[in-house]
Symmetry: D2
Subunit: 384 residues, 4 copies
Amino acid sequence: MVGHGFMGAAHSQAWRVAPRFFDLPLQPELTLLVGRDAGRTAAAASKWGWAETSTDWREAIARDDIDVIDIVTPGATHAEIAVAALQAGKHVLCEKPLANTAEEARAMADAAAAAEANGVRAMVGFTYRRLPATTHARNLVAGGAVGMVRQVRAVYLQDWLVDPDAPLTWRLQQEQAGSGVLGDLAAHAVDLAQYITGHRLTQVSGTLETLVPTRPLAAESPDGAVLGGAPGTGERGPVTVDDVALFTGRFEDGVLGSFEASRMATGRKNALRLEVSGTLGALSFDLEDLNFLEFYDYTAPAVRQGFTRIMVTEPTHPYVSAWWPAGHSLGYEHGFVHQAKDFVEAIAAGTQPSPSFADGLQVQEVLDAVSASAGKSSVWTPVA
Amino acid sequence: MVGHGFMGAAHSQAWRVAPRFFDLPLQPELTLLVGRDAGRTAAAASKWGWAETSTDWREAIARDDIDVIDIVTPGATHAEIAVAALQAGKHVLCEKPLANTAEEARAMADAAAAAEANGVRAMVGFTYRRLPATTHARNLVAGGAVGMVRQVRAVYLQDWLVDPDAPLTWRLQQEQAGSGVLGDLAAHAVDLAQYITGHRLTQVSGTLETLVPTRPLAAESPDGAVLGGAPGTGERGPVTVDDVALFTGRFEDGVLGSFEASRMATGRKNALRLEVSGTLGALSFDLEDLNFLEFYDYTAPAVRQGFTRIMVTEPTHPYVSAWWPAGHSLGYEHGFVHQAKDFVEAIAAGTQPSPSFADGLQVQEVLDAVSASAGKSSVWTPVA
Amino acid sequence: MVGHGFMGAAHSQAWRVAPRFFDLPLQPELTLLVGRDAGRTAAAASKWGWAETSTDWREAIARDDIDVIDIVTPGATHAEIAVAALQAGKHVLCEKPLANTAEEARAMADAAAAAEANGVRAMVGFTYRRLPATTHARNLVAGGAVGMVRQVRAVYLQDWLVDPDAPLTWRLQQEQAGSGVLGDLAAHAVDLAQYITGHRLTQVSGTLETLVPTRPLAAESPDGAVLGGAPGTGERGPVTVDDVALFTGRFEDGVLGSFEASRMATGRKNALRLEVSGTLGALSFDLEDLNFLEFYDYTAPAVRQGFTRIMVTEPTHPYVSAWWPAGHSLGYEHGFVHQAKDFVEAIAAGTQPSPSFADGLQVQEVLDAVSASAGKSSVWTPVA
Amino acid sequence: MVGHGFMGAAHSQAWRVAPRFFDLPLQPELTLLVGRDAGRTAAAASKWGWAETSTDWREAIARDDIDVIDIVTPGATHAEIAVAALQAGKHVLCEKPLANTAEEARAMADAAAAAEANGVRAMVGFTYRRLPATTHARNLVAGGAVGMVRQVRAVYLQDWLVDPDAPLTWRLQQEQAGSGVLGDLAAHAVDLAQYITGHRLTQVSGTLETLVPTRPLAAESPDGAVLGGAPGTGERGPVTVDDVALFTGRFEDGVLGSFEASRMATGRKNALRLEVSGTLGALSFDLEDLNFLEFYDYTAPAVRQGFTRIMVTEPTHPYVSAWWPAGHSLGYEHGFVHQAKDFVEAIAAGTQPSPSFADGLQVQEVLDAVSASAGKSSVWTPVA
């Protein structure tokens, strides 16, 4: 695994836990953890149970006893590592967004396509697809429960930038983060909307906004990246990414979508919300309430219609039978466990895991189209 | 109408509004308002549109141009007025609880039975039965939607006595109010539970509790009753009624119920909540959200089961077609309008309106059994 | 009152009820009801308590004993009636949207400005401002409870057009309705967002969409308008208005807004939802739950922060003290009662009621800018 | 660890995960798993990562390299194992209920008290105390946020016995399970109510009910216990435990409580709900929504009062800083991880972990008092 921030903890937990609850055809081993700083990397490896450490990701790729490279670094570094790993015949699991630019993402998707011919697998980490409730939502749509989809509403609302004096971390710097909420939050909303509806966005009209243009310089980000400036002096630097992204999208087959991603949504901590309106029903999901899915059956008798709050913890729901009895909640990290399971199973079965790097590229192209539209007074812009 | 407190406003509104939204077979006229204090009664009559006033309810009974007596005074006065009115051949609508004691209630029920032989009608005002959601709940149970009922949970929670220095009004004096939460709140819970399930309580085990035993003396209650003591001096008098009632009940056919009524439930303003658990489904209602009814269909496919939040505002729902388009909320007072409509229709049709005085008596007998049980260490006590 | 559809019922109820619960300085009298069809008008007048009827609104304007003209007809007729009434010195209450075009609305606003010089008042009926929860929201924002407003999310979702075979009524014909969801639903969202935040929209980027382009011809709309075609034959005619409106808006002072209005939002019956995100707090309102307002206090201790679900039924909340004790719900129609009260009080006090025709015109200009933007690939378009 | 049913999975996960997220002073090692059936035990050990297996718990106690005995077997076996382990100087973590009878529990508490003198620790597994939301609730009460506690409402509702043909497993046999919902569910409600309020129950009035008296015989329970009868023939055997427990309780200092435990609450999957009403505020928790705690601050300005839905996922909330960023949900199993952490820390620190066996005994005494009361027509019965 390359990287050891917050995502590293989630992935490590997934690798360790997946084989304990699912009968995996192959057993993951936590062989090597790679980080820039030797001391911090060693501490993380010790805590999370990685056998060895390195400060050079190339070492991981060079080793014969390593079959899978798991990339959890910031987006700017994804392309180089992933392409090299795939070319070396390693299976790759790469955190989202696939890359900071569509160009990089395209190189990665190309490398994945080439590798696939050799039985090498690549997957991008949109874990929110892999919650029981979201997978159940996809299954309901695919099974016709909402009829023909007409509208999608998707928002991903957080509030950790509400304070105008929150520090200027790497996530707020365009060179490192690529974008702000667009790549961080809107990417999830786009992937989930496309996954659940089974339709892809074809054009968008968007707006990007930086509501707090400067923030106090921070010596170091929580992820260890050293930033410029003189922290503690009150000096402020420019925020070079978007705080809010608003866009409208058209999907294939006339589906209409509205999207918002914000880090300024006071009081909303992790509200990835998605609502699908169809000719025969509707679905509503909120990540802050991730064990539930609301379903409206427009074919039910009129006097009984309403949104049904399904607690998606029955053994017959996706992934659930491996866990606890009905009514026992799962949490955020379980999506990562399911991702590890599905990835390992795909490798063992010799099939392409989903979402592929091509899927990740397509999401990146949607985000790029939003940026392009935002730069042209929100004019409708086709997705590449 | 005899009485003009808060209930008087609700009933006046009902008489005036019912014929505007429903096609009534007879037209209510607001002829005479009766109250103890001439000035206050005149003010109320003017505000609510009553043509004349009186300080003696016997005048109302003596007049030939008055067909209906509507009693909205405190419970201690119900029996005398209602019996006299029925004997004089007036139809009677009487606020709940029917009386402060089962003895008085029995006299009223007897008078109503005698009057019925002469085509004179009597009804007790459990208006919460007449909300679209509660009537819908009854219909669903009666139609088999929850199968055989097994359990009922009913609470009626308010918090207006949380402050230990809230004044000692007539509602907290046993002689005037009869009881505390028992007659005021638990009566509603009992009636609603019996109405919706179609089963009657046969025995109870109960506890009554006064959590704040003394309160500051008040010169006058909001309803005008002069209370003893020296208000403003900080002098306190004893609370002689219950703040909290907790009881377990057995209904006919083995249904098990739990009940709570409290004026000490901090933060709960008007939470009359009822949940019915049956062999094939469940229902959940909360008066603080009175336009909604939650329904669980245990016969639905397992992966789609959950509580369905039905917005009971469709034209096909009870009472709703007379009002607004789907999705437009009704409020507290609409139950009174529906009561007025149903009462007028029963009079015109020559049928017995429901709940009858006999029904009101039976609720009173349940409450008396709770009191009796509470006085005997909560031992199970049959309902008379 | 001119017109007697669903809005006529709401306004009639308001005129009758307002003086019973509020101490009004002037007493409304229901003098004359005007409608196209004599029989239907007479029936409505009888039901709702209007003394006389007419088939010509000019009669109302000509009569000396009529001081107020209440216009509840479809939008296409507003301008002519309102301008004539104002010129005749009648106070005018006009349903929203003020008119079907900004041009008509401008004429009305001009007439209102001229009339105001003579002490004649004009108000447009955005009643959702006048619910306790929405007025409370405005008061909280005005009092600084959310700090500086940054974002607004407003949707107005209904689902009565989900069925592609729902009939082609006048509301779906551009000539009569002016627009679809834009004037009917988005108008409310825009007014409420501006009212609560105290900021006005200055530019918009919008999309309008007709998801079901043809519908079965209907002989007659629910409002009595005869439509062309051969109903019952299955013949379909074109829907000439929008089913869905999506737009992004910039308000004064950098506030960013997102808006959706839809009649295709399966399962949503009357979901006018508004969320305000500010530097110190947030507010969230949903018309389907109109007795509640959610408030997030970002200045509270971190461990206690969360959305507080305020039941806006305390005597200290706006309008509530006139009604029932704490915890007793109000409904949809109470907004109309409050509107009648406020309008009468403004007339008596000789002050300008709000929202004025100028306010109604400004909302119309926002909607026109949305239409214009939608016609130009959603390019950002200034509000006139 | 002795036992390997569903609880065994939860405990194994806890031992493996706790040291990865918390900095523990001692490192748990999964040494030996004990079960009746060698094959099943080996499979469980392999899946969950236990190094060795045995079919005799005495082996675990005899081994010098084992310091801790974790007991997750059915309640009937707890006492023998725990007492032997404590006498052998092993620290013991024992699942709840501590035992099937107060007599056994008393022996265990005595053994724990004797062992404590030698620095040996014993803890009973009420893990629901150790969710961030419940611990936060306790902290709020302890800090005075709700003032003086007056009332507690606690229910634990499940619905897995709604079907009258659900099989007769060991959990429904008095000899093995001790009781039905009383020990399984009510035990949690009692512990949580006492933990959060800081008050202990002193007397109770209770009712126990078996709503479905016979059920189809099953060859084998999910836990492997062979039951009598001829499964598959439709033959039914008697349910010898309670399906529903209803009781009222008095705590120290006049606090009044109501309790229900049911496996017949159609649609409720795991609804351990607790509400505390105090003089200055209230708290409400629901295990089906375990990341949230609702708090009502009665000291807030009246117009802003309401239940605040706190998402208990901030780094400043109990246990949370070890996990994910704000807004990322935890699940059921995290309570077990926190229990493992707290137990290990207590052992390392040489302090008594909580809840102790004495605490577990006291809960058992409450349950016994409920049973005794139920056997005496619900008469109020003191807790031993």
